[in-house]
Amino acid sequence: MTGSVSRRQLAVMLGLAPLAGALGAAATPPRKWAEISPRDRIRDRHFPNVELVTQLGEKVRFYDDLIKDKLVVINFMYATCEGVCPKVMHNLGRVQKLLGDRVGRDIFLYSITLKPQLDTPEVLATYAEMHGLGPGWLLLTGAPGDVELLRRRLGFVDPDPEVDRDTSNHIGNVRYGNEPLTRWGSCPGMSDPQWIVESILWLDWPQQERDEKGARS
């Protein structure tokens, strides 16, 4: 099977009945609209719950274990990258220090490899050690299809397919977001680390809520 997956093919493959109201049903009004919370909608669009493996060999689910209820910082890299990665990873090291002990508690950093075949957990463990990554900063690998799905869903894609295929010239942005508050943003990974931290904290919980969470934990 090559080319596009048609609706019918997908339905057969997934064993689903064709969704009513999806295509051709140009809706006889008044239409009944689905009640889906914005948070769930964002999850559905952007956070496939694929299985990934950390540099410690631990298996995690992307949404359930890494994103849900957290303030997260995400980028893509690979261990042998000599282009944009060293600068961005160095900056994230500074970001981790500036955020202090919140990293690993309610703020988490995730660097996902673009070369999952090469970047095994062992390779990533060595990388983490060499670069002095602290707790709360995970390097993640997984099945190539899953990683590619994540890359696309998280928007680390160039609209020019030729540019996009060139992994050595990949997107250097850092994405950050507060999942329960549905607040998201991104900035160049080569920005000043202090600026990256400031940008991340604009999406933070209000002080009062942070105090209450602190009291609970």
């Binding site: 694929v50 590619e148 160039d158 900035c187």
Partner: protein, 590 residues
């Protein structure tokens, strides 16, 4: 009845299929092994179908539900009215104790004391964009999208108290922290709506708009240079890093400036169509979720967002009943990322070209009206036009059509579609009533001369607009609130060279505070009779494009930005801060 571009249809369908497929894969929570079994993954683990699953098939996002065109009349935002008093009263220094978010004192309220006071509240409200879609929770000024229109007058300074009553719950996107920019205002920095002058929920911010001509405190005392008169301004949220989503949610409106020539009365001055015949129109494109019918914003996008629904003044494809006479329309591309080329189209006579008159560029009246067959706008550009509907028979209809093809945030692909194959934005219904027309015929009009550009610049600065590894940059650097990239000496003349070095991308570049004139575009002077022979505040940088701009920075001091007005580029660091002060610097590549 034509309302969807035929050319787009194939791509639309593939985008929609991709979106639905992705949703079902997620819903089914398939593992990689299961996906491989189903043939959705190749043995190497890559997704089988480039377009069937790609999150960005042909630049698309989710596809909106169908809507029937021409269901709603054009909505015209109400005119904002002043209040007798503000509580607490406005103060020169920031009233931090009372909850004002301003951090710097007003520099010009002493010279230009506010004659009128306004109070506006930013708040969430349920709005209908189309009867086929559910009510939308939008962010509004005073409950309106677009916000109320300010009618301001040169020589009459005003102060606007802007209150942030936005909710903590953003409904999926938007940051309830705002900085309201008056686009093209000759405004002291602390009232400009600088991106980093944001204020939070529960706070307010007093903006002082002197409504004074450039040069009032320098080259042309005491009233300023009449030839710097501006007409069509707009205001919009400018919150650093979050402008695109906040404006997408509704935070924008018009601010019109009148004077003794552009009077707002077609019986006087330039005799431009006035009252009900002077209509602002903001064009925006949006996406609505297929399942919930609610406004959808792609949170994982730094390149540009295109919608498949076309709104005028906050409603999808409205109709507008017009009388058989001249109208002044104030067209504004409200973004976030789409460029337009507007034509008048008669579907039953597609070969006929209907010329009209362009009278302004970026809301600044041209030296004289120019007859055109179309108008092209990039994000934040404005054009005032005069259309004479007496040329159309009573009872007929005519469409405003966008014929510029654009598939993604990179900008239009260069193709201008044939008549009838673009997107119909607005339907004009020609009423049978007989009506008088007190406005002047555009061919007889002269407006303002262009200010001289022969002064020698104190400094020439060069700016490269770039993309490296998907990161937007100017001269290789990224935006930060506290990084003052260069300093302009107050009341000096500068020449700025803007270069587009970002490959296949276009950038509408906006410079706050002072208008510019284009000295050269790709090495050539702008020919007489071009609509670019004008005063502007947005420079449309096309592919491999270089322009030289003439500026004169007068009267006020403080911080201002230059940025790309594709708001997705702007939010992701394609912006810089420059300051005006007494001494300035001479950095040539800041």
């Amino acid at each position: 009845m034509p309302f969807v571009s035929r050319i787009d249809r194939g791509k639309s369908r593939s985008r929609q299929i991709a979106a639905l497929n992705r949703r079902e894969i997620v819903a089914a929570r398939l593992s990689r092994r299961e996906m491989a079994k189903l043939g959705l993954l190749t043995s190497a683990g890559y997704l089988v179908a480039q377009h069937g699953l790609s999150a960005r098939a042909s630049g698309g996002g989710p596809e909106s539900p169908p809507t029937t065109p021409w269901e709603l009349p054009l909505s015209i935002p109400p005119v904002k009215t002043p209040v007798p008093t503000l509580t607490p009263q406005w103060t020169t220094a920031p009233n931090t104790a009372a909850g004002e978010g301003r951090t710097r004192a007003h520099q010009a309220t002493g010279l230009f004391p506010p004659a009128l006071l306004y109070e506006v509240h930013q708040r969430a409200e349920q709005k209908s964009v189309h009867p086929d879609l559910p009510l939308q929770t939008l962010w509004t000024f005073d409950g309106h999208v677009p916000g109320p229109t300010y009618h301001a007058y040169y020589g009459q300074p005003i102060l606007v108290r802007n209150v942030n009553d936005l909710p903590a719950d953003n409904g999926g996107f938007g940051l309830p922290s705002v900085s309201t920019h008056l686009h093209n205002g000759h405004t002291p920095s602390e009232s400009d709506g600088f991106p980093c002058d944001f204020f939070e929920r529960g706070q307010f911010y007093d903006h002082h708009y002197p409504n004074v001509l450039a040069g009032a405190l320098s080259t042309h005392p005491p009233d300023g240079d009449l030839n710097e008169s501006m007409s069509t301004l707009w205001y919009h949220d400018h919150r650093v890093d979050h402008t695109a989503e906040n404006v997408y949610k509704g935070l924008a409106g018009f601010y019109l400036l009148f004077n003794q020539h552009d009077t707002g009365d077609e019986g006087t001055g330039f005799r431009l169509p006035s009252g009900e015949f002077d209509v602002p129109m903001i064009f925006t494109d949006r996406v609505f979720d297929q399942d919930t019918g609610l406004l959808a914003f792609d949170l994982m996008n730094e390149d540009g967002i295109l919608g498949d629904k076309f709104l005028v003044n906050g409603r999808i494809q409205p109709f507008f009943q017009v009388k058989r006479r001249r109208y002044r329309f104030r067209w504004l591309d409200g973004g976030p990322s789409r460029f337009y080329q507007f034509h008048l189209t008669n579907p039953s006579s597609l070969g006929t070209v209907y010329p009209f008159w362009q009278i302004s560029n970026d809301g600044n009246l041209l030296p004289a009206p120019i007859q055109v067959s179309n108008v092209r706008l990039s994000v934040a550009e404005r054009a005032d036009v005069i259309i004479d509907f007496s040329q159309f028979p009573a009872g007929s209809t005519i469409y405003l059509e966008n014929r510029l093809e654009q598939d993604d945030g990179r900008g239009p692909d260069g193709d201008v579609l044939p008549a009838g194959q673009g997107n119909y934005l607005l339907r004009f219904d020609i009423l049978p009533d007989s009506v008088t027309d007190g406005s002047a015929h555009p061919s007889t009009q002269q407006f303002y001369a262009l200010p001289s550009t022969t002064a020698t610049p104190r400094v020439t600065r060069t700016f490269r607009f770039e993309r490296t590894n998907g990161q937007w940059a100017i001269n290789g650097k990224f935006f930060s609130c506290n990084d003052v990239r260069f300093r302009v000496q107050k009341n000096s003349v500068e020449r700025w060279i803007l270069q587009n070095s970002s490959g296949g991308w276009m950038h509408p570049i906006h410079i706050h505070f002072e208008e510019f004139q284009i000295l050269k575009s790709n090495g050539s002077a702008i020919p007489a009779g071009s609509v670019l022979k004008s005063r502007k505040d947005v420079m449309r940088l096309e592919h491999n494009h270089q322009v030289e701009l003439f500026f004169r920075f007068r009267d006020f001091e403080g911080r201002y930005p230059m940025h790309c007005h594709n708001t997705l580029h702007e939010d992701h660091a394609m912006m810089l801060r420059w300051d005006i002060d007494a001494t300035g610097d001479t950095k040539t590549n800041p």
